[in-house]
Symmetry: C2
Subunit: 244 residues, 2 copies
């Protein structure tokens, strides 16, 4: 499993991904699932990978190779985030075309999906989720965040606390609590967490860090959040009970 | 789907169940999933039903019919909660024996499970979850709560806020927030919520209520919880970012 989140806010986008890949509880490893394409002053594109690692790595490698060429469409030349997403979708379908039938022989589907977001030039920041089939959806005001992988444990805290006008730092804390909730309940989601806050119109990555096992900030956040929720419950009115 | 929770605390047990049953989004209905067997001063046994409605109703009806007889083992005569759980498990297997092969013809399994808890006489309160096969587990200090149905959305808030020494009223509020989280994300879990707090050694049901759509207390709780969590996030330390 995996857990990736992207949150589109008025002031930018928060991205986070875990790093656990596994094929059974006795076969797990760490791989970074966040890929950043940055040309300061021009564009920032962030991809979060979910699903079959061979598939997602092949897609990213194809995109990187194309970025080094000038004779093919690539992410450095994309005129909009929509065009960038098309390029990723095309790369996914190319990998599927190459590998799909061999995977099918072992009853495995091409199973790679991405959250992708960022900003190109003067266009407003945008955030998308691309499905394994290569089709995709875009985050909107009513649903400003997109998740992949083990999405359920970490969803309510985002619903409670994040709206489009939430500041980037506040949303980042909420996303980390969302990860904490998920990792407590699903062993196949694990640290380190890669966290990136993209500030609208910065066209550069200035807030990016990795939080590994035992990270003092993450542990403090987790503990203070737990204590904070208990304090909130203590302040909420008690239920009344009808006479019996 | 369904959502049921039982939480075993030092001072008693909190039970809650939703009321939605469905066979597709165009075919849903309301049924109470909480069954209470109470003889004040002697015993309180609470059952929360999940799964195939025909199956869970048949089990409860069998138990009720047996309770009216004196020549068969029944819940009024059970010497302990463990014995009571055996009686429920036996009733489940009897229903499966009668219906199972007919359901199997339509590729349907006997699929009924229960959370059951309470107190009989001087024995301490106990809480169990019975699986569809009739085997069961008992809540313990490390994991004082049991859930059935759509369990993921509502789990983190219980993990954060409830420990065995949490007072009944505090735990009840937390369980309601757990239901709110679940109902926001899964349409097949719906109001009314039946909520029962059993106080240890009371051997009577004194705190029990139903919360239906638009319940002012539930709405206030939900809103104040959401505001409370935002205030907690505002107080948590912001992440620091390494220089780039």
């Amino acid at each position: 499993m995996t857990y990736c989140v992207g949150v589109l806010l008025d002031n930018g986008i928060v991205f986070a991904s875990d790093s656990r890949t596994h094929a059974g509880v006795d076969n797990f490893a760490r791989f970074c699932k966040m890929t950043v394409f940055e040309r300061p002053g021009d564009r920032v594109i962030v991809m979060l990978s979910s699903g079959n690692l061979a598939g997602t790595q092949a897609v990213v490698s194809r995109l990187r190779q194309r970025n080094e060429r000038t004779d093919v469409p690539n992410l450095w030349g994309a005129q909009s985030m929509f065009d960038a997403v098309y390029l990723v979708s095309d790369a996914m379908r190319e990998v599927d075309q190459r590998d799909g039938r061999y995977l099918a022989q072992s009853d495995i589907g091409f199973n790679a999906s991405f959250i992708i977001g960022g900003q190109i030039g003067a266009e407003a920041p945008r955030l998308f989720r691309i499905y394994a089939e290569g089709n995709f959806i875009e985050a909107a005001e009513e649903t400003p965040y997109l998740q992949t992988g083990e999405t359920k444990y970490g969803k309510p805290v985002i619903d409670w606390a994040i709206t489009p006008d939430t500041p980037l730092n506040e949303a980042a804390k909420c996303v980390l609590v969302s990860f904490d909730s998920t990792m407590r309940s699903n062993l196949s989601v694990g640290m380190p967490i890669d966290l990136l806050c993209y500030a609208k119109d910065s066209l550069a990555v200035r807030m990016c860090r990795r939080l590994d096992e035992g990270d003092p900030y993450f542990n403090a956040l987790s503990q203070q959040w737990s204590e904070g929720t208990r304090a909130v419950f203590a302040q909420l009115p008690n239920p009344s009970w009808p006479a019996r």
